[in-house]
């Protein structure tokens, strides 16, 4: 338990990490603005493919900022980044396979 990894400089100086804190608040404002825009779009853009596409793109942008900045993945080694991102390909396949399946069920019952 005593084995500790010091990747960061320990510093009692309150000015230390000011850069990081700035980046954190910047990320917060980006997330807040995107969420507010989602609300605006929810009540102004008519229902359809365009609206869904905008929502999905915005969700992925938000996910990028949360994972990249808050979870710090953007600043990790390439190996770690790919170890986390590559398995998500399976999720993409699951989405595609089950969307087609759902459509087939719909056609079988109501088509």
């Amino acid at each position: 338990m005593a084995e500790v990894h010091h990747h960061h400089v320990h510093n009692q100086d309150p000015e230390a990490g000011a850069e990081q804190r700035k980046a954190i608040w910047k990320t917060f404002w980006i997330l807040l603005i995107i969420t507010s825009l989602e609300f605006l779009i929810a009540f102004t853009v008519p229902h359809g493919i365009l609206k869904i596409t905008i929502f999905i793109v915005m969700t992925i942008v938000k996910a990028f900022y949360i994972v990249g900045e808050f979870m710090h993945l953007k600043h990790e080694t390439k190996t770690l980044i790919w170890s986390i991102l590559v398995p998500v390909i399976f999720v993409a396949w699951l989405i595609l396979a089950l969307m087609l399946e759902g459509n087939a069920i719909f056609e079988a019952i109501f088509g």
Partner: protein, 256 residues
């Protein structure tokens, strides 16, 4: 590697042969990441199952303002989630869930500020930001409890629906929802609401417990003695993941 002095019998350090951290992350942090990947699969399975069920039901095709609850088609979510505490009977679509989203994002910010303070061994700020994060977590859970309660009890008028009871079609007024009856739409819609938001809420709850533990250990000087605040970072990863999942639940359950 030229500067490396090799003693007879010693093995030259290689990237993947041990003794080196190829990902420059500690064991605990890596395992948290891989746990979160497995959790991603669980939540993806739930959300994709929701998508499948939605695609296999008819969608509401009429004009938006003509929408009424019926078990013949999938409901428009913003017409289901339009209640706000203390504003009984006022239609405010998605406002309450918007507040919940804001609370979770804000608590994610205070969490990452606690992690940053931990890097500087700044105990007072770790304590302060952990307390804010815990408060955010409890507030979110409180909001969710209210939302569930409202969803279960339903609207004042209820919905008149034709349902099969003991093998025959009967017409009756249904108030709210449970796992077999649902005034807002097909019963599957309520089932997915309970399972997905419930599973996420359970994650928030365990996150709050972990955050309290981290706060307690920071406040009692445990991490100062250990010489590292890395535990704050590991639990921080979990807390951000819970926020990340909510971003997806918010889009696919409430917006789309």
């Amino acid at each position: 590697m030229a500067a490396h002095v090799t003693t007879p019998g010693a093995v030259e350090p290689k990237m993947w042969l041990g003794g080196i951290e190829p990902m420059k992350a500690s064991y605990g942090k890596l395992m948290m990441w891989f746990f979160l990947i497995s959790d991603t699969f669980t939540f993806s399975a739930l959300l994709v199952a929701y998508g499948t069920a939605r695609f296999s039901f008819p969608a509401f095709t009429g004009k938006h303002e003509d929408f009424t609850f019926s078990n013949m088609y999938w409901p428009v979510p913003e017409r289901v989630y339009e209640a706000v505490p203390f504003l009984h009977g006022v239609s405010l679509p998605l406002v309450f869930v918007g507040i919940m989203t804001f609370i979770l994002i804000a608590s994610s910010v205070t969490m990452v500020l606690a992690v940053e303070a931990g890097h500087r061994m700044d105990r007072a700020n770790v304590e302060k930001y952990m307390l804010w994060t815990i408060l955010g977590g409890f507030t979110f859970l409180g909001c969710q409890a209210w939302e569930w309660s409202h969803f279960i009890h339903g609207t004042d008028a209820g919905t008149v629906m034709k349902v099969i009871e003991n093998g025959t079609w009967v017409e009756k007024t249904i108030f709210g929802a449970n796992l077999t009856e649902n005034q807002y739409g097909p019963p599957a819609f309520a089932d997915f609401f309970f399972f997905i938001t419930g599973f996420h809420g359970t994650h928030v709850f365990s996150g709050v417990i972990l955050n309290i533990l981290i706060f307690f250990r920071a406040a009692t000087g445990f991490y100062d003695k250990r010489g590292s605040y890395e535990m704050v970072e590991k639990v921080g990863l979990y807390w951000h993941f819970v926020d990340l999942v909510w971003v997806f639940v918010f889009t696919f359950f409430y917006l789309v």
